[in-house]
Symmetry: C2
Subunit: 260 residues, 2 copies
DNA sequence: CTTGCCAACTCGTCTATACGAGTAGCCCTG
DNA sequence: CAGGGCTACTCGTATAGACGAGTTGGCAAG
């Protein structure tokens, strides 16, 4: 029962609260690799005994580490060091025309290449009223076609995206079908004469709302990356807005910029 | 003492834990604007009385909302709805040559334009051993010149950045001085014959480490954006790596991409 | 009127206890 | 040997109480 000499003692007279000291020691042990990814930390009861503190104090320490995204608790099993999931790299040229020739979507192609099992679900395509923000970005349209879908890698949801298109562009075209066909909606837009000129991407990071925790099955301590992409055609018109929420621990975004 | 009819009751027999139900009600009240930004929530004691639960239960609810970045507690004062701070937009062309002509740094110019009071502190310029990651990015250099600085807006730290440059480029030049002169180090690099060709930026989001919480004075529930920019010259050599950690609630990154 | 103290209110930390519920392994039963 | 159930262990939720420390405003003393 006595813990291997990994953890020291706490100083109750210290300025630093006891539960913070315990969290500090556990964090350091994790950082130094004394507890490895996926490994189980000592149980609450063990730490209670080791440090001579009450259970709430230990739980308080755990909740700090959870908030930092370092560990996660499993009911009935224990508290574990959170493994770093495989990361998906999004390159800034992922929508370049040359990637649009194939039949499969960028997500599927990339995932296959990385050896993961990709999946897309909760497809929903419907017409709806534009929110204020979407309306502004699309240039004052009232109603839009919304295409919603969720992406999964090896069964884990990693991204939830909604594309909004003006009805006068999308209605009655293949864009309004669940399957937009080879090359995705950007290929269809170009076929319809809306030649794409450039994209604008806005990136934010924040903690997820409860609904996002649910759809992305996020562990506590995992932020989301919120990306809003607007596609403009050669006439300067915004033809699509894509609102994407990604599990931050599953993504690295990568941009290549000219130094002009 | 009785609370204005904003909050309902909880169902102790429900599947959903009582402290979650309380958090839900408070969250909804905040979302609906019944508690406004900066406004004080009912005190722990008031909620204890209103819901007929123990204090730890109420504190548990608050800690959920804190983790979501919705509220923050001030010792001796109360729990407040966290105001959304003014946001700094970083455009992808912020390092274009045309922005480099003036004497002042991009940060100062932008902040002045936005009506904020900018500040730069904890300047440190020194030679040091490159970490494995930096060495790889710079093409296997051993030692580097590191330029560290922290940026503040209206007294609030928002960004902490470190630039790494190969010693054979930077040593003995103005780049190794605390003040790199008009146009910043990119201007100096070009004067030295290292004409910049393009930048590569990698973006991640995660919860901050304790040291980052300290230097950026982050409230709990605020993630950081971690941006690593590598600058390449026209010969394809990496001439600088800039590692930046930003308070996520203070930034929106914006990229303009060709549709090519 | 000003100063300084005190009281009341705030959240922060910690203890002790209790019960519930999920998990996993052992052992007994059939 | 297979199955089922018991038990011990895990974390989850909740109560009640205590003391500490930061903040604020009022009141009393100077």
């Amino acid at each position: 029962m006595s813990l291997p000499g990994l953890l020291g003692a706490v100083d109750p007279t210290s300025d630093r609260a006891v539960f913070r000291q315990i969290a500090d020691q556990l964090r350091e042990s994790i950082d130094r690799g004394r507890f490895k990814e996926g490994e189980k930390l000592p149980s609450e009861a063990e730490l209670v005994e080791h440090y001579g503190v009450s259970r709430m104090t230990v739980r308080n320490s755990f909740s700090i580490l959870q908030g930092e995204g370092l560990v996660h608790a499993e009911h009935g099993k224990g508290v574990f060091v959170r493994p770093r999931p495989p990361v998906r790299r999004l390159a800034s040229d992922r929508f370049a025309r040359r990637h649009r020739e194939q039949g499969k979507s960028a997500f599927i192609v990339e995932a296959d290449a990385a050896g993961s099992h990709p999946q897309v679900d909760s497809l929903e395509v419907k017409e709806e009223k534009a929110t204020q923000d979407i309306a502004t970005r699309l240039g004052s349209v009232r109603r839009v076609l919304a295409r919603r879908r969720r992406y999964l890698l090896d069964g884990r949801p990693v991204e939830f995206a909604t594309s909004y298109l003006p009805l006068d562009i999308a209605r009655g075209t293949q864009i309004a079908e669940p399957n937009p066909g080879p090359g995705g909606i950007y290929a269809r837009l170009e076929e319809l004469g809306h030649h794409l000129d450039h994209f604008e991407e806005e990136i934010r990071a924040r903690m997820p709302a409860p609904s996002e925790v649910k759809t992305l099955r996020l562990a506590s301590g995992v932020p989301v990356i919120h990306l809003i992409r607007t596609a403009y055609d050669t006439e300067g018109r915004a033809v699509e807005v894509c609102d994407t929420v990604m599990a931050a621990d599953a993504y690295v975004l990568s941009y290549q910029l000219p130094a002009t």
